[in-house]
Symmetry: C2
Subunit: 190 residues, 2 copies
DNA sequence: CACATTCTGTCGGGTAACCGACAATTACGC
DNA sequence: GCGTAATTGTCGGTTACCCGACAGAATGTG
């Protein structure tokens, strides 16, 4: 992608996030976004039809990064199913964009991120677990919904609560709980 | 100035400073500068003939900012001669660009900044003191040189020493010494 | 309501940055 | 030494951004 396009988009998205931390989404104007991004107003319209479109792509971009971060690393002999390392990579990415996630998870009137996040995590789990054996007795889709909801809940709590664990800490705790509930195939496979 | 020009120049200058904090000036290449600035290599050449030119303009830009910061503020009834407030503005500006000044004042082989800084301060003092009475017995140019050298020395010490006073603190101390040596016209005028 | 102000979305002309390529020079390792 | 790689400085075609202007919609203030 052209260097200029990337810079403009990054600046515009960052501007929106920083504005959303100050005032509610509906009160934000394209003018403000352009000004904060230090970009001509026309440039905003060149990339996005309106601020709703911008918000959508903003979410999409961050979730894509999140997906990429939990993909098994090539050359490191990582298995195709989730590991504690891949989970840590996700939380590290979340931590890196704290401003974005705290804003969009707490900002009232814009619950768009939470549902997209849950959706994304379900999809990720479903893909990674497709070839694996699970303990019997529970429908696989129910199990996936269970795990995804629990994970999203922990993420939300992590961002909205003043007590701030590090990415390593929270990863360790979440992983322990998932293991404790025998919802990871590790024990069957390793 | 065109928004794009400003952004490019800021990015390039900042890249040079950050590189100078890591390696000596002669080892730095245009490629590295462009890469760090996230700018096409051609853009560097569009603004500067070579890295020496870039370093010069870099120094010039920062000194211009410094000069602007010590100008008497309009509308605040500030006198035309230096005040403690104007000195504080200078140190605040210095503090704001700590990375630049510490790098350029400590980096061996590039004593360009120190001499330009002394020169600039002499000029500033000479201009601001042009209409004022001084205690007799000392040539005015000698006095100016004395004050400027002392000031530059304090600035150098401020940046190169691990003990870090705030801009307010160091301003207070320097002002006290200048007053103590009766080198400020304040007592004669006020 | 009338009025002023701000915001919106779009357009066209101008310009700076991008990118890839090039030959010439310098730096480096065998 | 000699060959390879990196750096330098320049160029031309392409693209994205800037800027000012515009009419229409929305907002808000008397």
């Amino acid at each position: 992608m052209d260097r200029r396009v990337r810079k403009s988009q990054e600046a515009i998205m960052e501007a929106l996030i920083s504005l959303m931390a100050e005032k509610e989404f509906e009160k934000i104007t394209i003018n403000e976004i352009a000004e904060r991004a230090d970009v001509n107003r026309g440039t905003v319209y060149a990339h996005y039809t309106d601020k709703y479109h911008l918000l959508d792509l903003c979410i999409e971009t961050h979730l894509d990064q999140l997906i990429a971060s939990c993909m098994p690393l090539e050359g490191l002999n990582e298995p195709a199913y989730p590991t504690k390392d891949s989970l840590l990579r996700v939380f590290t990415m979340l931590e890196k964009h704290t401003a974005f996630y705290t804003t969009l998870l707490t900002s009232k009137g814009v619950p768009a991120l939470r549902s997209r996040l849950l959706e994304m995590i379900c999809l990720g789990i479903r893909q990674q677990y497709t070839d694996l054996q699970f303990p019997a007795g529970v429908d696989q889709e129910v199990r996936i919904q269970f795990m995804a909801s629990a994970t999203v809940g922990v993420i939300e709590w992590w961002f909205t609560n003043p007590v701030s664990y590090s990415a390593e800490d929270i990863t360790g705790q979440l992983w322990a709980m998932l293991e404790q509930n025998q919802m990871l195939p590790g024990k069957q496979l390793v």
